[in-house]
Amino acid sequence: MWSYIIRRLLLAIPTLFGVTVVVFLIMRVAPGDVAVLMLGGESGLVGTPEQLEKLREELGLNRPLYVQYFDWLFGILTLDFGKSFFYNADMADLLARKAPLSLQVGVMGLIIGSILGISGGVVAALKQDSFFDYLIRGLAILGISVPTFWSGMMLILIFVRTFDWIPQQGYTPLWEDPLGNLAQLIWPSLIIGLGFLMGVPLRMMRATMLEVMREDYIRTARAKGLRERVIIVRHAMRNALIPVLTLIGIFLPITVTGLVVTEQVFGLPGVGRMMVDAINQRDYPVVQLVVTLTGFAVVFANLGVDLLYGWLDPRIRY
């Protein structure tokens, strides 16, 4: 087991390294250079040569490419992310301010989605081909198909029309006003949770549950006279859950995508909103950092899934 863990960890390092190289290259293949883009780009508002030179100096763009890269990489490794131009603040501080909100909404969405998805999948499988089965599956496909931002807007629309409620701008951290915080963030979390995060595990859970319920050991459990509840929860669900867990790996990118649009709809000042603002303000250091960190997060999530899988199912070794 330990050698597996260590091997898997070592394998992740080149990927993480590759993520930084790819992001760095993408941000550098810009037509023209970043300094020109930041000072107005195509709009014709390009600054004077002196201004450009000054900005290049500040961004370190006049150094050789590899020096820039290693400098940036070293910064990331030491959590020194550099400065945002638009916000005029250290990016580490910015992240510390914005990340808790996004993390909270993301985690709450994940919990809502997983609970609904897994239980919905089990019910649909047990009542296969019944009205409930079709209803639940229909809801799952609907969740996958309806864009998150539109369901968010519809939720707000309904609330505005019936309760005269408008989403509160800004945000109070959980530790300052737990109730107020939850009352505000439960809606975006619900919207994220009811989309892909519910639909994908639901369909997977239903499929594996159907398979498992036909296994011999379920028949054995029945023959032993176990109660149906015990059979379903302890024998069937436990086994059916294993493949569903691998989905965690694809959950993270989906959640990040959901956060970007949902924060925009609900006016929440999180990391996704920061990324959109940064693109509009041509604040490239922020864009570069957010893309890198989401890449890292996904690599780590996949690593976690592999390790978890190896632990849950001892047959799996790479």
């Binding site: 080149p14 810009a30 309806v146 864009p147 539109w150 519809m154 990324m275």
Partner: protein, 311 residues
């Protein structure tokens, strides 16, 4: 398998619907949802194709006489008006006819969807098959790159590409969505091509001295087609969603082009109380399109890949 390969071959020949339906009619008949999806997709294509016609009809019913194309025509009186006999789905915030714009929106969604799915699909097909066929360090390096690209959530990578290109157009949007779509497609094609490359008939082809090109085009490609079709169809819905998300964020198809996502951009909520139709109708169109492509793709996957049947 033979019938399946034949059906696939005919899909490539271009006579898609009739032959799939005929040959796999028994399979399709048991998938009412898939047929519903097919109907929605057909409806969408029809809508996009007849958009100019509807523009004329809608312009007439509002007795529009201006010189601008009706889909762009601003009319102060029609600002945010609710649906009526003049403006069937009401007016948007600039007083443009929402019905006309939604009908034209189908063109944009379909264009982006098919361009991404087929464009990225073609590139992924070439890269996946060559990577599997030639193997060696090219394959190894390519697969590492695929791993790395797959670490980025699609929308985030697309946003970064838009940010760096700093121009907004349908074409930029297509490129921005296509690049993140590549890795998953390459993976599937490569996996299939890899197993085909190891079959006896490819070995036989090699023995009788078939060239690389012949082996790739006549032996490997036709037999790698089914998964390719599945991933390409599966990509249509997500490409349309991503386009809508980008346009919603103001980073995709620019105004005044009638993109469904753009119609829903965040400011649309400001008019929620006054004019809910501005939010409701583009969203319904968008959701129906994505739903149609998704359930059609699911059913097609079931029919083409018997191993996944019932999942």
């Amino acid at each position: 398998m033979a019938a399946q390969t034949e059906a696939v071959a005919e899909i490539i020949g271009g006579r898609v619907r009739r032959n799939i339906l005929q040959r796999n009619w028994i399979l399709w008949r048991r998938r009412p949802l898939g047929l519903l999806g097919l109907a929605l997709v057909a409806f969408l294509i029809l809508m996009a194709a007849t958009a100019p016609l509807w523009e004329i009809i809608a312009a007439n019913s509002a007795s529009y006489t201006g010189s601008q194309p009706y889909k762009f025509a601003l009319d102060g009186v029609a600002q945010l008006v609710p649906p009526s006999s003049e403006h069937w789905l009401g007016g948007d915030r600039y007083g443009r006819d929402l019905f006309t714009r939604i009908v034209f929106g189908a063109q944009i969604s379909l264009y982006v969807g098919f361009a991404v799915a087929l464009g990225a699909g073609a590139i992924a097909g070439v890269l996946g098959i060559t990577s599997a066929y030639f193997g060696g360090w090219v394959d190894l390096l390519g697969q590492r790159l695929v791993d790395i690209l797959q670490a980025f959530p699609g929308l985030i990578l697309a946003m970064a590409i838009v940010a760096i290109l700093q121009s907004f157009s349908i074409e930029v949007t297509i490129v921005a969505i296509s690049i993140p779509a590549l890795p998953a497609m390459i993976r599937v094609v490569r996996g299939q091509a890899l197993s085909v490359t190891k079959t006896d008939y490819v070995l036989a082809g090699r023995t009788i001295g078939a060239s690389h090109l012949r082996l790739i085009f006549r032996y490997i490609m036709p037999n790698s087609m089914a998964p390719w079709i599945i991933v390409v169809t599966g990509r249509l819905g997500s490409a349309i969603t991503t386009e809508a998300s980008l346009s919603f964020l103001g980073l995709g198809v620019p105004e005044p082009l009638p993109s469904w996502g753009g119609m829903l951009n965040a400011n649309a909520l400001d008019f929620a109380e006054l004019a809910p139709h501005v939010i409701i109708f583009p969203g319904i169109a968008l959701s129906m399109a994505v739903f149609g492509f998704n359930v059609f793709g699911d059913a097609l996957r079931d029919v083409l890949d018997p191993r996944l049947r019932g999942r």
